[in-house]
């Protein structure tokens, strides 16, 4: 656990960081969606805001944009206190935002949306971005696929060349190729000095692009660590189809957590050395094997222990759907931890 006092002290030192969250708390009736969340994002870094569905990530982001009012604590975005509407409104011309649910107004064309946003906040980089992301801007938004909507959202988020970009689940709905293009783009933006803060419930995504990661669980920030540490802790999700002898032998291997048998195989989280696992597998008659990254819920379960009460999803609507435990396919396509 991160020591709150240390975090707070760090925030004081980094008082002029683009994003400073200080004791941010948001309650909806009896539900605590954000509980005393504190962290800071430094200029020119990519900060991943990781957490399972329903952990309260969207609530934090919507507090930062002034859509919600904090119950207690506050945050400063480019120096503007989120409780001060005038200051925050002024700062917004230097902020890009990509919400998790993108709605533009169904009957308008993408071009009309960009014209409107551009007229208010500027559009210096619009043409350049439309070459990279290619939503069909001449068509009405209602005809857009999810991926096209995301791309239009990305163009509007970056087109006024903001200093800070806040994105809520930016890659959901993008195909793997577009995701890779997005990752490369975000790194380039960081190198130009833009500060980037985005949320995700997909571990592999933040592993690939983020400089630092904060993990939100049940409304509280439980970890603030660098990607290497997270990478080390993540483990791998392994699914093996093999005969009974092999399955029994595998269960005995060191570094296996939570083995679970199914009809013709076994799945588990493996936290040991990958080469050991491969050597062991080679000794058996294996029909099929998948090695991928674990769902973030599993990472929590293994490193912080399951707490049924805390695991209850709250704070966010049911809008997010993601890879649950046992469906690592989304994460198994060539991430650094993959085989």
């Amino acid at each position: 656990m991160v020591d709150d006092r240390i975090t707070t002290a760090d925030n004081r030192i980094d008082g002029d960081a683009p994003l400073v969250v200080d004791g941010l708390t948001k309650e909806f009736g009896s539900i605590v969606a954000n509980d005393d969340v504190s962290f800071a994002v430094q200029e020119g870094e990519i900060f991943g805001f990781l957490g399972p569905n329903g952990a309260g990530k969207s609530t934090t982001i919507r507090l930062l944009l002034g859509l919600l009012r904090p119950t207690a604590g506050t945050a400063r975005v480019l120096g503007a206190d989120v409780r001060d509407e005038d200051a925050l409104t002024a700062a917004k011309s230097r902020i890009g935002y990509l919400p998790s649910t993108l709605r533009f107004g169904e009957e308008v064309t993408g071009e009309a949306v960009l014209n409107y946003h551009g007229a208010i906040k500027g559009e210096a980089r619009r043409a350049e971005l439309l070459e990279l992301f290619t939503p069909p801007i001449e068509r009405p938004v209602r005809e857009y696929s999810t991926g096209n909507e995301r791309m239009l959202g990305l163009v509007q988020a970056f087109m006024h060349d903001p200093d800070l970009v806040i994105m809520d689940e930016p890659t959901s709905g993008l195909d793997p190729l577009k995701q890779e293009r997005f990752n490369a783009f975000v790194r380039r933006e960081r190198d130009r000095g833009t500060t980037i803060f985005f949320s995700s419930h997909v571990l592999s995504e933040v592993r690939r692009v983020c400089d630092r990661v904060g993990i939100l669980r049940s409304g509280s920030l439980v970890e603030l660590e660098n990607v290497d540490t997270l990478l080390h802790r993540g483990g791998k999700h392994v699914r093996v189809h093999a005969d009974d002898a092999a399955l029994t032998g595998l269960t005995a291997l060191d570094g296996i957590v939570d083995p679970e048998r199914f009809a013709e195989g076994i799945q588990f989280v493996y936290v040991g050395d990958t080469n050991d696992l491969l050597r062991k597998l080679a000794a058996y008659d294996v029909r099929d094997v998948e090695i991928g990254e674990p769902a973030i819920e599993d990472v929590f379960a293994h490193y912080y222990g399951r707490n049924p009460e805390l695991d209850d999803a709250h704070g966010e609507g049911g809008g997010e759907t993601g890879a649950g435990p046992g469906s690592p396919s989304q994460d198994s396509d060539g991430g650094p931890g993959g085989v």
């Binding site: 002034g66 919600l68 919400p99 533009f104 509007q156």
Partner: protein, 261 residues
């Protein structure tokens, strides 16, 4: 400046053209129907109606084109139909955006909430003005086409005086819009409120003891038929409507600035 109002106004152009065409077609029908009814003894036709209903629909002088339009077109379409329409449309102003999540992008723009709300409401001037500015000449041309005449100044005044009334109906819709989380709730609430106020005003008009209740209804302050007939109107009525409208806007802005989105 006014990017939001311009953008939202453009989105209303299509609906406005349909609305104006519909109202124009109905006006044509009413004017034609006046020629059909020529020679009918109106006092006999409406003698059995209760006084409250005669008053509610502004039925007077039906044998003149001014009185006929006042009762059949303005009392139904302008006072009731369009009043409800603007309450309904204003009900969807931000409640729809809050429901769909579009409000996230709107609020991320460097525009204060109050300004966003006022500019979105201002887009309602497109249908409000179009239905009068286009509707008036359409009605005038129809009237002339059947060989009747109507003082253009009375007709123009009747249209002009409808604007403060529409603004109050829209203001009622806006209050619902900032209070609700779903468009349908705000729209229905606004329509129901304006309709109930209209009914109450019509009913209590006859009872002295409770006649103060009628002053709560915006329909009390817009009476198109006398204006059409002889150009008479009470400036205080329009003043009351404009003050009420300002109050509704201030209330909506205050509520919208404070709420979670």
């Amino acid at each position: 400046m006014f990017e939001t109002a311009r953008y939202e106004a453009r989105r209303k152009i299509r609906g406005t053209l349909i609305l104006t065409a519909g109202v124009g077609a109905y006006a044509g029908f009413i004017v034609w129907y006046f020629t059909v009814l020529e020679g009918v003894d109106y006092e006999d036709v409406f003698a059995d109606l209760p006084p409250a209903m005669l008053e509610a629909f502004g039925i007077e002088n039906l044998s003149t084109i001014e009185g006929f339009l006042g009762a059949q077109l303005f009392s139904f379409v302008w006072l009731l139909g369009l009043g409800l329409y603007f309450a309904y449309v204003a009900g969807g102003t931000v409640a729809g955006d809050i429901e769909t999540g579009r409000i996230d992008l709107l609020v991320s723009l460097p525009v204060a909430r109050s300004r966003l709300l006022v500019e979105k409401f201002a887009a309602l001037f497109v249908p409000m003005l179009a239905v009068n500015v286009l509707g008036g000449p359409i009605i005038y041309v129809f009237v002339v086409a059947i060989g009747e005449s109507i003082p253009a100044s009375h007709l123009a005044l009747t249209h002009l005086l409808s604007i403060p009334f529409f603004l109050v109906c829209g203001g009622i819709g806006l209050v619902f819009s900032v209070a609700a989380n779903r468009a349908t709730v705000a729209e229905r609430g606004a329509v129901a409120t304006v309709f109930v106020l209209y009914l109450v005003e019509s009913v209590v008009g006859g009872a002295d003891e409770y006649d103060w209740i009628q002053y709560l209804s915006p329909t009390q302050y817009y009476d198109p038929t006398p204006t059409l007939i002889d150009g008479s109107f009470d400036p205080i009525d329009s003043a009351i409507l404009l003050v009420a409208f300002a109050g509704l806007i201030l209330l909506s802005v205050a509520a919208f600035e404070r709420r979670d989105l």
